[in-house]
Symmetry: C2
Subunit: 344 residues, 2 copies
DNA sequence: TCCCCTCCCGGCAACGTTCCCGACAACGAT
DNA sequence: ATCGTTGTCGGGAACGTTGCCGGGAGGGGA
């Protein structure tokens, strides 16, 4: 691993390290020929500045940390693609951590990333996070943070979200218009921003169409791995009701597939006995049985927007900026799970 | 971002930095009381050693780089979960990069990770990589690399793979035993290890059951995004044959969903007109239409094994080790896409 | 001739940490 | 009293880079 340093170049060319450094940065106070000499030699020896030394010097790492609940989820992995494409072009390095829906791991990851001197953080909250102290502290210390998807109300900074109210309204409206009366909503814990927003859209649609809101048709579940049974239990409760729902609207990727599995296991015909519309970016929605109607978020664009805002924050820290919340429209992809056209 | 350093502690306690450093490392040559004093003060002030300074000092970063074709793929994201769980416990930090099936990006990512001084690399080759020079060079310089899934024959190091031959044999055998005669195989470019191994298993099963191998039933496609049309074209060629196949065996996640989409678009009944078995870790296989028979790889375990081997290599570099190739058995999950039982 | 200014370039410190090399006191042994 | 030992600690260098300061050579103007 003998990497060449500025010192090596200086020694080889009989110059000082300062001169070499400035020559490489194309400083005006270095003779043109000297610059050429240095740059050609550096090129020849394949010199690459040591980013660690640079980080130590001016405590900047040209890297940003991303904390998400989990990677194995289409919405988040698409979002990461968006983040990476932009960050890469702007010379930033992306470090990804998963909270696995655990508050403790979220805190641990945050601390780790900060000790690694990331220049900023991109965060989507874990479903078990109620205490935001670890982020508040960092923001007070001046570390730029941009939240996306699951964002905290209590913290003021840039945020990037989908128009959850609209997406949820549109989905619910669609179910109503296709004749459903008893629409259940399975969603995340109530202290998540996406939960309240989607719940609100759901309620508003019911209200606008004169359907009474029934709390017993709403179930709150965690997303996390071990808690998948929670999802199943909630579904079972719904199915066991005196008047079970005739449609279900799960509010996330994980919940959607969970619901589908339970319905399939109980041999419930979709959409005949139960319509379903998922708030999900799952890639194979049209290959499902039946093809799944879905509220799709522009995940890639959301990732791009988030990282752009973050980098703006990093590179212009002085500017006391108006923090903004970018909202992206979702799109409703109507398929058979909610309409029941042909059905192979 | 005023973080406390060893110097601050030294100044506050009227000691030298050396003493503080040794006290914190619990060195035997420091007075017990002094140690206690230092450690308590450090604890109180929430001192955390600066990993960047440490990296600079002994050019180790306690971090490992992962280069994979893409994250938005169940096999790889499960694998990453395995990698992270182990690495985290062993005090290593995981940096993930996607090659997006591009040779250029693979090289760029490799260089970047190396310049960031990762202690080792975990790599699954892009489908367009034929030149391995960038990895060979690093290995000569002493950087530990472990390959997984798509591994190069030409490089000697630890490797972690699925038993692709077996998985492919078993899938093909299953199709034969359920009465299929003309089994097509859609796979990756031939210079990928997984391609040749899976192809070999496929051929062997045909041979063992007395079915002649027909090259025109094998199609080679790239995985990458823009090249999805390639997959579609290959499928169409198969369907347009004089004697089209009665079963299809795609060799990866992406290819499997691609094939399913084409079949659906052409209104081909599965499994009546065409059976399908996918070499895929897709999470919703049983929710597909129809539920998909799949060769599943123990992705998480493979990730764990790979990172364990890598860290062993990193931490015991002197030991001239016998390089080993760990092979994991796949499991065949039989569902309706290949059997055609009930079919809602 | 003297002075000042411009053009180049080198020396040094600093970022945070550890390691090597000493230094000095106290103490027992000779 | 002298010497080596042990127990504690400090000083300095080093990792790679950049910024500040300073300095010499050469040229132009008074």
């Amino acid at each position: 691993m003998e990497t060449i340093t500025i010192k090596d170049i200086a020694r080889a060319l009989n110059l000082s390290t300062s001169t070499v450094s400035r020559a490489l940065r194309n400083s005006y106070e270095i003779n043109t020929e000297t610059k050429k000499l240095v740059m050609e030699y550096a090129e020849k020896m394949n010199y690459r500045p040591n980013p660690i030394a640079l980080s130590l010097r001016d405590s900047k790492s040209k890297s940003i940390g991303v904390i998400i609940p989990e990677i194995a989820n289409n919405f988040f992995s698409q979002l990461i693609n968006g983040i990476e494409s932009i960050a890469y072009n702007l010379g930033y390095h992306v470090v990804i951590f998963q909270s696995h829906e655990s508050y403790e791991r979220e805190v641990a990851n945050t601390n780790y990333l900060v000790s690694r001197k990331v220049d900023g953080l991109l965060v989507s909250l874990s479903s078990l996070t109620t205490n935001l102290h670890h982020f508040e502290e960092l923001m007070e210390k001046g570390l730029p943070i941009v939240f996306f998807d699951r964002v905290p109300n209590e913290i003021e900074t840039h945020k990037v979200v989908a128009d959850n109210f609209f997406g949820s309204y549109e989905a619910t409206e669609h179910l109503i218009k296709t004749g459903r009366k008893r629409i259940a909503h399975i969603t995340s814990p109530i202290y998540l921003s996406i939960t309240t927003e989607r719940l609100a859209g759901y309620k508003k649609a019911l209200e606008d169409y004169g359907i009474a809101f029934d709390e017993s048709y709403v179930k709150y579940c965690h997303h996390g791995g071990k808690l998948a049974s929670e999802n199943e239990a909630a579904m079972q409760e719904l199915l066991d009701m005196a008047e079970p729902p005739d449609a279900i609207f799960p509010a996330s990727d994980r919940l959607t597939t969970g619901c589908l599995a339970v319905l399939q296991k109980n041999n419930i015909r979709i959409p005949d006995d139960m319509a379903i519309v998922g708030f999900t970016n799952i890639g194979v929605a049209e290959l499902l049985n039946p093809p799944l109607t879905a509220v799709v978020q522009p995940a890639m664009e959301m990732g791009q927007q988030a990282v752009e805002l973050l980098i703006k924050l990093i590179e212009h820290p002085k500017k006391t900026i108006e923090y903004e919340t970018k909202s992206f429209r979702t799109s409703l992809m109507i398929r058979e799970s909610s309409t029941g056209k042909v059905h192979a």
